[in-house]
């Protein structure tokens, strides 16, 4: 029931808002997202971290094509659902100060997006997964298009087509797997696993690429990332938050759920390439972030770097790597949301996100400054912040995988510090200038948004164990698939 509510509540409210334009759109949307949050917390409450898939619903949908409405959560799904439901109310809240000529559509699209994101994370049917995956693309595209900034037409179109390219290859891959399922074909997760695992190495390798490219584009991993910085910059703040905070996790989640256990041989064969690309991406994106002057663009590149580390760690196929990836997904979601919100606050106050035009904000806004420092520390993975736990686990996995790779990837802790400190210094320190003269400190609403994030950043950093426990069983499951598989082939 809760599962259905999680999917239907935002959908229903979204449709309501899209069809009947309401004057209280934002209040309605906020309530819906809070209800969603409560529902997901209820889910977490009843979740048994030792159990397998829970709250499952499996209903035939298109039986002739072997497609079922099959949803359920395991630990990893649950955490990502929580990330989605936690961030969405804050994203909605963050938009309250936005001048918006079509609020009803805006919030409708955000809720639609939430539905799709939750759907992606809970789907246990290949087709359903693809469906939600694609549906998620539409609202965000419209949000970026309609409420976006300069150059949005070209950029959002590129974004859409680029990500669609990947998705279509994924679809081809999924259909191929579907056709390999024995008897009456099925998209059921287990069936797809069985089908993929029974394929010879060569085909698994090809399938790896068909699926991986989709995920790599979504994350994005170097060199499939060029849609991302432009899109982040041009999208409205809430769009960017959705994109970076939650949506890019779809790609990582895809790798965990729909790639590694599906084609274990293919993954084993090609994970090295994926790791190399990811590690290049870390250094490359960090390097570019260093010279960015637009704060949003800087965050965008930093996000590529972070995601590169996640992907690299994940591809080591180790317990630490996978756990690190999961926890880092949550952490990154929170951090990047906060960063983009801070960027938005700059923009609202000064009309600019250009770092060289800011400065001295610390004088005027000590609370914001403190929050920024904490978020920044999380971003550079200082211990006792959420960023550290994941990054440490990921680096551990990478070092274990290969020392040199790990060492290169670990450069991120230096480069990350370089660009984040630079951003902080340029925007916050120094004397106030003509742009920032009228800067004022956080309003109550902004505090309501940012303080919980700060609490989460430090909370997860100091006590990550509950989260790690939730995902532990699921991660072990996936790893045992790999282990069984390599045991049976050897």
């Amino acid at each position: 029931m809760t599962m259905l509510f999680l999917l239907l509540c935002p959908l229903a409210v979204a449709l309501f808002l899209l069809v009947f334009k309401s004057r209280f759109a934002r209040e309605i949307a906020l309530s819906a997202s809070v209800a969603e949050l409560l529902a997901s917390l209820y889910l977490a409450w009843g979740f048994d971290s030792q159990g397998g898939v829970q709250f499952a619903i499996n209903q035939a949908w298109i039986p002739s094509l072997g497609i079922n409405f099959s949803v359920g959560v395991d630990g990893i799904s649950l955490l990502l659902v929580l990330l989605t439901t936690v961030l969405t109310p804050f994203i909605i809240l963050s938009s309250f100060s936005m001048s918006n000529s079509r609020p009803s559509s805006f919030y409708g699209l955000i809720l639609l997006m939430q539905m799709a994101l939750v759907g992606v994370f809970v789907a246990r049917d290949g087709f359903l997964f693809y469906l939600f995956w694609e549906i998620a693309l539409l609202p965000i595209w419209f949000i970026s298009l309609i409420w976006g900034g300069e150059g949005r037409r070209r950029i959002t179109l590129k974004f859409f087509i680029y990500t669609l390219t990947g998705s279509l290859f994924m679809l081809v891959g999924l259909v191929y797997l579907y056709l390999q399922t024995p008897g009456q074909h099925s998209f059921e997760l287990e069936a797809i696993y069985a089908a993929g695992q029974s394929l010879p190495a060569m085909e698994q390798g090809l399938l790896f690429w068909a699926l991986f490219v989709a995920f790599a584009i979504k994350m994005p991993i170097f060199p499939f990332h060029t849609w991302q910085p432009d899109t982040y910059v041009v999208a409205p703040a809430q769009g960017t938050m959705l994109l970076s905070g939650i949506m890019l996790k779809m790609g990582i989640f895809g790798v965990i759920r729909w790639l590694i256990p599906v084609v274990p041989l293919g993954v084993q064969e090609w994970s090295h390439v994926a790791i190399i690309l990811s590690v290049i991406g870390i250094i490359y994106a960090s390097g570019i972030a260093i010279v960015q002057n637009d704060f949003k663009r800087l965050i965008a590149y930093s996000s590529i770097a972070h995601v590169g580390l996640i992907a690299a760690g994940l591809m080591t196929l180790s317990q630490a790597g996978m756990q690190g990836a999961v926890i880092q997904m949550l952490s990154h979601g929170i951090l990047v949301f906060s960063l983009f919100y801070i960027a938005e606050i700059f923009f609202e106050r000064t009309g600019s996100r250009v770092l060289s035009g800011l400065g001295g904000i610390r004088n005027a806004a000590p609370v914001l400054s403190s929050v920024f420092i904490i978020v920044m520390l999380g971003s550079v993975a200082l211990p006792f912040t959420s960023g550290f736990v994941g990054e440490f686990l990921l680096l551990k996995a990478l070092v274990q995988y290969q020392f040199a790779t790990g060492a290169i990837a670990a450069l991120t802790i230096i480069l990350g510090a370089v660009y984040m400190l630079r951003a902080f210094q340029k925007s916050m320190s120094g004397e106030l200038n003509s742009n920032t003269n009228d800067f004022y400190d956080l309003t109550t609403r902004e505090k309501v948004i940012l303080f919980p994030m700060v609490v989460l950043i430090i909370g997860i950093g100091v006590h990550p164990t509950p989260l790690l426990e939730i995902s532990g069983a699921a991660v072990d499951n996936i790893l045992s698939v790999m282990a069984n598989y390599s045991a049976s082939t050897n």
């Binding site: 403190s370 211990p383 440490f392 274990q400 370089v418 120094g430 990550p464």
Partner: protein, 637 residues
Amino acid sequence: MVGLDILISLIPGLPLLGFLMVSLFNKHLSHAMAAGIACGSVLVSFALSVLTFSQLLSLPVEQRSFHVLLSEWISTGNISANISFLIDPLSAIMLLVITGVGLVIHVYSVGYMHGDPGFNKFFSYMNLFVFFMLLLVMGSNYLLMFVGWEGVGLCSYLLIGFWFRNDAYNLAANKAFIMNRIGDLGLLLGVILIFIHTGSFEYADVFAGIPGMDGGIITLIAILLFIGATGKSAQIPLYTWLPDAMAGPTPVSALIHAATMVTAGVYMVVRNNLLYSLAPFALEIILVIGLATALFAATIALTQNDIKKVLAYSTVSQLGLMFVALGLGAFSSGIFHMVTHAFFKALLFLGAGSIIHALHGEQDIRQMGGLKKFLPLTHLTFFIAVLAISGIPPFAGFFSKDEILAHAFAHQPLVWGLAMLSSLLTVFYMFRLYFLTFYGQARASAQKMQAIHESPGNMTIPLIILAVLSVTGGFLNVPEILGGSAWLHQFLEPVTGASHAAVTVHPLSHATEYVLMGIVVAFSAVVIYFAYQIYMVKKSIPAAEGAPSGALQNLVYNKYYVDEFYQMIISRPLHWISEKLDVVVERLGIDRLVNSTGVTVVEGSKVLRLLQYGSIGVYIFVMVVSVVVLLALSLIN
């Protein structure tokens, strides 16, 4: 009676609490209350440290270790890191130094920071620093040490950039953080490797596992950890942040950049003495780098005119000396020097702070002089500190430095020679500083001289306390030949003893030791005389900025252009590469490639649409051709 576990947990817990209270209620607390909370928390911490220390002492030697498990931190799969504390002789000594010196400096700061708008913030940061520093030394595992390690770096960053309106200070803060991070990278990799090869982060488990490890790995780990140390303890090549870090308020320089944080590297190496003892190559590296740093920094200090810069380079140099000790395998000597150095260097900085305070921010020694009569107490304590750092018996520095030199001689006379050279240079520049500051003509502007005054009590009392410690600190470890019992050495034995199996410290004959002592003292006296001749008799004043000077002097004055060198080989290329990555690779390369697929389609579209020529003749023509082709294809089939 509360359990000792809880008391131990409170040692770092209280400063954390202080930090939280002061920072969360920043606006609502008066300066006095904030100062009270901050100093009070450190005071209680200190008291608890003393209590813990006494508890430790009351136990037999082999049981002197408390392990307190506070909670689980990261736990997944086979990875398990706890928040747990280890109190053993080494951490107990560190506790005392940190909370003790920390307390003194907290009190001093109340006076020094008086009236600063960021007063509360300052104390919250200071408390946070104490918390992290305590975590660093108390943590019972590598990961917790790393937490403290990074945490103190953070506080250092926050406090260097404390006066954030000044962009130069901010840049200094960034530089400190980033250079520390370079070191941290090494440390982190080392820690990860340790875990991978021993399966645990806990010191106890790791030390048990180390002997079974491959020698190459041990050396690699040792070097990686030492990279961490070079960052935090400002050794070549990562030392340049420390002089810049003097941008922070002077108490910060005293606490963080002289007494405690920068010695974390020393602590870490001593903590891992077993590991290092099994990696002789790493020890060699430490020795060489320590020696080089000691000499290099000392020469720079000779020419500096900023009072804090001189002290900063002196710190670098002294830290180098400590690493020389570590490199020689004389771990307890390193700790000994660290302790005494904490006393007299903190005193020097606080004294300098007092001077700066008195002169309203003036830091250039060329603008000082003749301050003896205006600041008598400061002068006296400063003089004690100068004597201590110069190794004049019976001040603290004499004992600790002498021990290191003795070990050096035993290892290799050349090492001894170089180490002694550096310590003689130290003597020279310290006396140069001392003479230029307190004697001769008052060169400060009249305006500044008018308002000059001795610092208030809450600043001078700390000076006195530290002065006493600088005088007596050496008696902690009076060597046997001077009739002492080398108490500290004995006390640390449970910790450092682990390395004895692998590292043999050659004992020197008593005669040799006496001779060495004599030589050092004699030479020091000569150097003092020279300094006296130059600065008291000839009354020479360092040249003003831009005055012509010899190439060598220029080189040294400009710190060997190391900053510029780094700028040239790291910073600028990094920027250049980043710029090129952004503009060339990203926009003209990858993105262009992506866009070009789109452009190709659009261009293709422009071409293909011409096919739709509009004229029926053409359409039919193409149709017929298609039919022909189709039929021809069918024929071929």
